[in-house]
């Protein structure tokens, strides 16, 4: 994360419309604890259209994905999310790089 530029970070976070929608959903509704299908319904999308974007946000650490029985449950990783927001704020303060 240290070497990441603001452009790279924002590209990873909100590089697509769906990722931006997902981030907005989880930020305004931090209590969501749902299946990928459930999350898809909440953003008015199809499951197949959000799966990859969810995975990217899980890899970034913004979202958490945990298996319970036969269900994968997705939720906001609040501590990591705060960390990333802080990083974005720092990068903006320090001037746009890259």
């Amino acid at each position: 994360m240290k070497e990441t530029s603001l452009h790279e970070l924002t590209e990873k976070l909100i590089g697509t419309e769906i990722k931006a929608e997902l981030l907005r959903l989880f930020h305004t509704n931090p209590g969501i604890l749902d299946t990928v299908e459930g999350v898809a319904r909440r953003v008015g999308r199809m499951r197949k259209d959000i799966e990859t974007e969810i995975l990217t946000l899980v890899e970034l650490g913004v979202l958490r994905k945990e298996r319970f029985g036969d269900l994968d449950i997705v939720s906001l990783n609040t501590s990591k999310d705060r960390e990333i927001l802080k990083k974005v704020a720092e990068l903006i303060k320090g001037g746009v790089k890259g």
């Binding site: 509704n29 209590g31 604890l33 459930g38 909440r42 319970f68 939720s75």
Partner: protein
Amino acid sequence: MRVPTGISELDGMLHGGLMRGDVTLVVGSAGTGKTTLGLQYLVNGATKFRENGLYITFEHMPAQIYRDAANFGWDIRKLEAEGKLRVVCTSPEVLVKFVESRNPIDPIIAEINAKRIVIDSISHLEASIPRSKLRGELYRLINHLKMKELTSIFTAESHEVFGNRLMVTGVGLSFLVDCIILLRIVEVQSSLKKALTVFKIRGTDHDKQLREFEITSEGIKIGIPFKELEGVLTGTPRRTTEERFAEAFLKAARKGR
């Protein structure tokens, strides 16, 4: 031991509050105040009785809950930040996992030491559980909550706005729960009013009157019983026989003058 809802008139009707560890079903059609009653129970628990609570919603987004609660002066986000209340927005199939040994809800209950829980609404479980298994799974869920010593409120949608039928799941949920509170819309003199009654409590006495209630800027306020009316639960009450007789008597007396 009683668990006060914090709605003083309702606690009076319940002779002190809900019974600890009981499951209460709050039944009503759309717009009767089921969600408001559930939230008020949790907010009062967290702010007046040192009992933290968990609100599980399937359709309402937390942002909507925060906004609607703010209209009553309840700062849910603040209560969440203080670890006194949590709003969880999930799907019925996730709630079904609640009874499994490893599930996503238990850690939240442990984290905030929840004593109260509201599931809004239990009617959504019908879509996730085959009808043949619904009663058994609801029984399992109710016992799971009791084992955790949670005092629970389930809201349930009644499809009829008016009418004299009470149908919740059709699998006998009303037999499984300990207490039932009915919320109805009734028409009185061309105005729509809200009525509340405690329909059943297992093992204890309760007020059996039908009372008018309003959703005010501070939440639910329960008023006086519907007097001089009968058939209120049907949604279209009529005056009692005594009232009709009294009116006819007065009319006859006026004519005779």
